[in-house]
């Protein structure tokens, strides 16, 4: 429980210095500063955390107006944009820690909280992990209000609703839920609110923590909430009746409910032409199968079903596999793990060294490992193709999911060949059909099947054909407020 809810705070007295002393007694930190000044005939005291406030704001909007207008009421004199009266000591302390300036006037048993927070933040930049070729290049930052601003600027709707929550019993982190009130299903809004309310943590570190605390299945390899740093993506999802969750201090926005296929949609699909968009989306979906099945396929061909290799290729395959002392599974596992090592090293290392590692890892190890007879060159091709296809997915969350998934597939392929692959695929399909995102079917619109919604799944139909919202978020109104190509004479 945060301190301001734990116990009732003290009441303010008439003496300003007493009030200030009461607050400073609750917290002792050397960056809490006190400034005494004369306000008309009375004395005034300002209390603030030096590291949290913008000094200029305190000077220009609090101190100066108060000194000049000694006769007016303090509320009338202040030129800050927002102020409020603190209810008790705890309330005042909370404001103090948020970067507000406390104002005490001698003889007035009250405390005014003036908004003087320092707002320094990162500049709005394109998110590194969700780059697009065309379209908007802005991305979320760590400041929650900037993030909400970025979305609001796009969706100028009177129905766009933001609800704040404070979570983190000690650290007190702000969360915001955002949705279109007349589109988003109220039941889902209630559901996500209930789940968020139930969070009882000391601190909210990031979106991943929230996700883990509120998602439907934590053991599933698949992400059940869409992570994005792109405001345009959030805006599009809000209008499909989904709910966005912002976390102060994390540029990632969580979107729920989502379907499996949302992770394969990229803003690029919509900025490019419908044909091109559909083609690349199909490539992406195809890459899912490629990324999880290719090593497994190779293993089962080499160890069970060599007869399906074309006659002209089999001698090359046999020649290349023959000098490798290990079974195909070991070979593939070894190379897959090497790739994962290179990837992990590439992230941690500074950019210039990262590239070097990529070259050393990719080329040198790849070539030397074949010459040394540890791994066949077919395995290198397979592993490289798999790695490339796993990075095609626009979502980093889904990317990690499919990179993990291919290992059980490899094992089942080495045990039972194609039969094993099919068996594992069946389990995967059953899991996908059973999985839920915020209580909504994850594999929609395939399971349950809704043919109308397939317009925007494997292909992207032209904009003017997408007149209905997808059903998986159960929006209140299915029909979009758009009509396309009205100029066409019939």
């Amino acid at each position: 429980m945060p301190f301001w809810r734990q116990d009732k705070g003290g009441v303010f007295k008439k003496s300003a210095s007493e009030n200030a002393a009461a607050i400073t007694a609750l917290t002792d930190s050397s960056d809490i500063k006190q400034r005494t000044f004369s306000y008309g005939k009375a004395q005034g005291i300002l209390l603030y955390v030096e590291t949290m406030v913008e000094a200029v704001k305190v000077e220009n909007h609090v101190l100066q107006p108060l000194k000049e207008n000694g006769s007016k009421k303090p509320e009338a004199a202040l030129t800050v944009i927002e102020y409020e009266e603190a209810a008790d000591h705890n309330d005042a302390l909370r404001g103090l820690l948020r970067g507000k300036t406390l104002l005490f006037i001698e003889g007035n048993p009250a405390c005014l909280l003036c908004r003087t927070e320092r707002d320094t933040g990162r500049a709005i930049k394109e998110p590194m992990n969700e780059k697009v070729v065309r379209g908007a290049h802005d991305g979320f930052v760590e400041d929650i209000s900037v993030n909400i601003f970025l979305v609001r600027k796009r969706v100028e709707s009177k129905r766009l609703t933001v609800e704040y929550l404070e979570k983190g019993n000690r650290a007190n982190t702000s969360l915001a839920i955002m949705y279109e009130k007349d589109i988003a299903n109220p039941e889902l809004v209630q559901r996500i609110k209930k789940r968020l309310e139930s969070i009882n943590a000391e601190i909210i570190y990031n979106a991943g923590q929230i996700e883990e605390l509120i998602e439907d299945s934590t053991t599933s390899p698949f992400p059940q909430m869409l992570n994005t740093e792109r405001p345009d993506r959030v805006a599009a999802n809000l209008l499909e009746g989904r709910i966005a969750v912002f976390i102060n201090g994390d540029p990632t926005c969580l979107i729920a409910p989502v379907s499996f296929f949302s992770f394969y949609q990229s803003p690029d699909d919509y900025t490019s032409r419908s044909l091109a968009g559909s083609f690349y989306r199909m490539i992406r979906l195809f890459s899912f199968f490629f990324a999880i099945l290719l090593p497994a396929f190779y293993i089962s061909v080499v160890s069970f079903h060599s007869e399906i290799v074309p006659r002209d290729l089999i001698l090359q395959l046999k020649g290349s596999v023959e000098q490798v002392p290990y079974p195909a599974l070991m070979e593939a596992l070894f190379m897959e793990l090497t790739i994962e090592l290179i990837r992990e090293a590439g992230i941690r290392l500074p950019t210039p060294i990262g590239q070097t590692i990529g070259i050393v890892g990719g080329l040198v190890i790849g070539d030397a490992v074949v010459s040394a007879g540890l791994v066949s060159n077919f395995t290198i091709i397979i592993v490289a193709l798999t790695a490339i296809s796993s990075y095609v997915v626009p979502s980093i969350e889904m990317n990690t999911a499919i990179r993990l998934l291919r290992f059980p597939f490899m094992v089942s392929a080495s045990l039972f060949g194609f039969f094993g692959i099919v068996f594992a695929l069946m389990i995967l399909l059953i899991h996908l059909c059973k999985l839920k995102s915020l209580g909504m079917p994850y594999f929609s619109p395939l399971a349950p099947l809704r043919v109308k919604d397939l317009k925007d799944v494997f292909i992207r139909k032209t904009w003017w054909k997408l007149t209905k919202r997808p059903y998986d978020s159960k929006p209140q109104t299915l029909k979009r407020e758009s009509k396309g190509r009205q100029w066409v004479e019939k």
Partner: protein
């Protein structure tokens, strides 16, 4: 600690490893030759391509090394059955013999004349044997054929396979493989036609030399490549190309290729009396070589059409005659009768009736195209 029992179901998963056939432990057979010997024995010849060891000796040299043609190892052994010989060979060769990539199965001509199916039974029984392997009859002995020197060729079965495939495309032989041939060998209502391959001593090359006609399970006659083409026309089995060359007006030669042909087989089974059949063929051809020219003139084409019709009629009739002589019902006339009147077929002794039955051939040839010039 109580979870130790999960090891039991997990270890059951390892049962799949029993069926593992790792490609590196296999010795792939690409070609097989079978010959009958005296006292019901047989000789089995296998061709095993030897992949180049050390193809990837170094990063740079990889490309050059893999381009080298594979050498083959040919081995023969005598025994009682195919499997018997195969096991004998297996004892001599490292790795397990595997026929899943078999491309050509060759049978000596004399062996084919005594129950071909009996020699293939082992392959049809084995689920991993490739049913799309080419089945050919060799002029002479199959084991000797594999020992012959083919100019510049190192991987024999690959060479034979391509040779057969090209001949199939040019409609010189029917498209067959183990599966298709098996059906026909066992069918009482129609008979198989299987390509015939021979060795050209002068050119040191293998040569497609017409087709073998079968009567039931045994080979009973031969067709030349032209006759085989004629058979394909009558059986509507022509492929992409079918070149024919005729001598017309005494000294002029014309080469034509088939554009389109339709053959109709009419079988009549009278209540009392022997069945009769009519094959009517309507061929549309393109002139691909005719030095005298003048094909734009109606008079010329008309006479040419007529002469071509006569020549083609001769060829088709000759083919039918040969098939009847060999008692090989390759056109499937028997099957028609079975379909039409099964009771009559049961009463007929088809093997006796077919060679003497009346099969009429009606031919019509028309030059439809003349190429880029007239």
């Amino acid at each position: 600690m109580k979870k130790w029992w999960t090891i039991i179901p997990l270890s059951l998963l390892l049962a799949g490893c029993w069926d593992q056939r790792s490609v590196k432990d296999l010795n792939l057979i690409f070609g097989v030759g079978i010959d009958r010997e005296e006292e019901n024995n047989l000789t089995l010849t296998v061709e095993i391509p030897q992949e180049n060891q050390g193809t990837t000796s170094g990063g740079g040299g990889t490309e050059g090394a893999t381009q080298q043609a594979a050498q083959s190892l040919v081995m023969s052994e005598k025994g009682q059955t195919i499997r018997d010989v195969a096991f004998q060979l297996d004892r001599r060769i490292d790795g397990a013999l595997d026929i899943s990539k078999l491309s050509v199965l060759m049978v000596g001509k004399e062996s084919a004349q005594h129950d071909l199916y009996a020699l293939l039974d082992a392959y049809f029984r084995n689920p991993i044997s490739p049913l799309n392997a080419k089945l050919v009859v060799v002029d002479g002995r199959a084991d000797e054929f594999f020992q012959k020197d083919f100019k510049g060729q190192t991987l024999y079965s690959d060479y034979f396979f391509k040779l057969i495939e090209t001949a199939e495309q040019e409609s010189a032989i029917p498209v067959t493989n183990m599966q298709l041939a098996c059906n026909l060998l066992l069918d009482e209502g129609s008979d198989a036609v299987i390509p015939l391959i021979s060795y050209n001593e002068e050119q040191r090359a293998a040569e497609i030399n017409g087709s073998a006609l079968f009567n039931g399970r045994s080979m009973s006659g031969e067709l030349t490549t032209e006759e085989a083409s004629a058979f394909l026309i009558m059986d509507n089995q022509t492929q992409q190309e079918l070149p024919l060359t005729f001598r017309v007006k005494g000294e002029e030669d014309i080469s034509v290729t088939l554009i389109d042909s339709k053959a109709k087989l009419k079988v009549s089974v009278p209540k009392n009396g022997s069945p009769a059949a009519t094959v009517s063929v309507d061929m549309k051809v393109q002139a691909i070589e005719y030095p005298p020219q003048g094909l734009n003139k109606k008079k010329v084409t008309k006479t040419l059409d007529q002469q071509l019709t006569e020549e083609a009629q001769k060829l088709l009739q000759q083919t039918v005659q040969k098939m009847q002589e060999a008692n090989s019902d390759a056109l499937g006339i028997g099957r028609r009768i079975i379909a039409k009147d099964p009771d009559t077929f049961k009463k007929l002794d088809w093997g006796e009736v077919y060679p003497d039955m009346d099969i009429k051939v009606e031919t019509k040839v028309k030059i439809e195209r003349t190429g880029a010039i007239f």
